[in-house]
Symmetry: C2
Subunit: 163 residues, 2 copies
């Protein structure tokens, strides 16, 4: 399944199929969800300790370009997930707690067609990351009206798909 077609995609893009590349793909799949490079590298190195982090960085960059992985920026840090062409969802990131939620593609259809028509801009739903406040953090704000400054991290730390 999965890995097969990924291997084919790498080949057909004129790139070489190497053990390191397959290990990175497997790692992201095995870890699931949105994974930072740090964890990908750690997972890969359990199997193949000689693989350098530089290779992992280069590989995730390549796989993103080939649309085999999606990159999600959470507070300026890149996370990766396995790209599924049948589910081109975007992401919502809470500015306060850093939680990440899926943004179903249906929500972007209208925006996409309007931008294409009006501006000629072809929006890629799976590369969309919008930020704002999740339910939990909105109610926090309401209660604790002390002028606390958002640090853009910490607090709760869900990573579910429901805000």
């Amino acid at each position: 399944m999965q890995q097969q077609s990924a291997a084919a995609a790498i080949r057909s893009a004129g790139r070489r199929l190497t053990p390191q590349r397959m290990l990175v793909l497997e790692a992201v799949g095995a870890l699931g969800g949105h994974v930072p490079v740090e964890r990908i590298a750690a997972h890969v190195q359990q199997t193949a300790p000689q693989v350098d982090v530089a290779t992992v960085y280069r590989t995730v960059a390549l796989l993103s370009r080939l649309h085999l992985l999606n990159e999600v920026q959470v507070g300026g840090v890149s996370h990766y997930e396995v790209a599924d062409p049948s589910d081109r969802h975007g992401h919502m990131v809470c500015e306060h707690c850093g939680a990440t939620f899926h943004l179903p593609p249906g929500y972007l259809d209208r925006l996409r067609s309007r931008l294409l028509k009006d501006k000629g801009f072809d929006l890629h739903p799976e590369h969309v990351t919008v930020s704002g406040l999740c339910t939990a953090c909105r109610s926090d704000e309401q209660h604790s009206h002390s002028g606390h400054t958002h640090t853009g991290a910490s607090s709760h730390s869900h990573t579910g798909s429901e805000a």
Copy 2:
């Protein structure tokens, strides 16, 4: 004008008004558009060479949290612009050439209200950055159908407000 209210906002947030902070604000305003930290630091240091880059980084982070600057991620690099509460626009970034365009707030109204109703997520329009392909790069793609890999930078380099 501008600087006055910014100064007031810093004070009312309980932070101190320092020459360094005003210099950073002035620099972003003077340079205009979406400015990377590197250029902000260079501009500030023309006036005050002793100001450290670390200070500039800390300052833009603070000013972003206070909504006096907006952060725009272009290919993983943070750029900043002066925040105008009366024009809470988002941004569109071309994945191919890296060009940045304004996304008028009207385009996000419907998405915003739907997310709030369905998911309880309060989207901040001025923090939205969507990515895709701009008009110029879409027509490039059509013509040169060689399997060239997008490097996510270079090529044309508009920074206007029309895709």
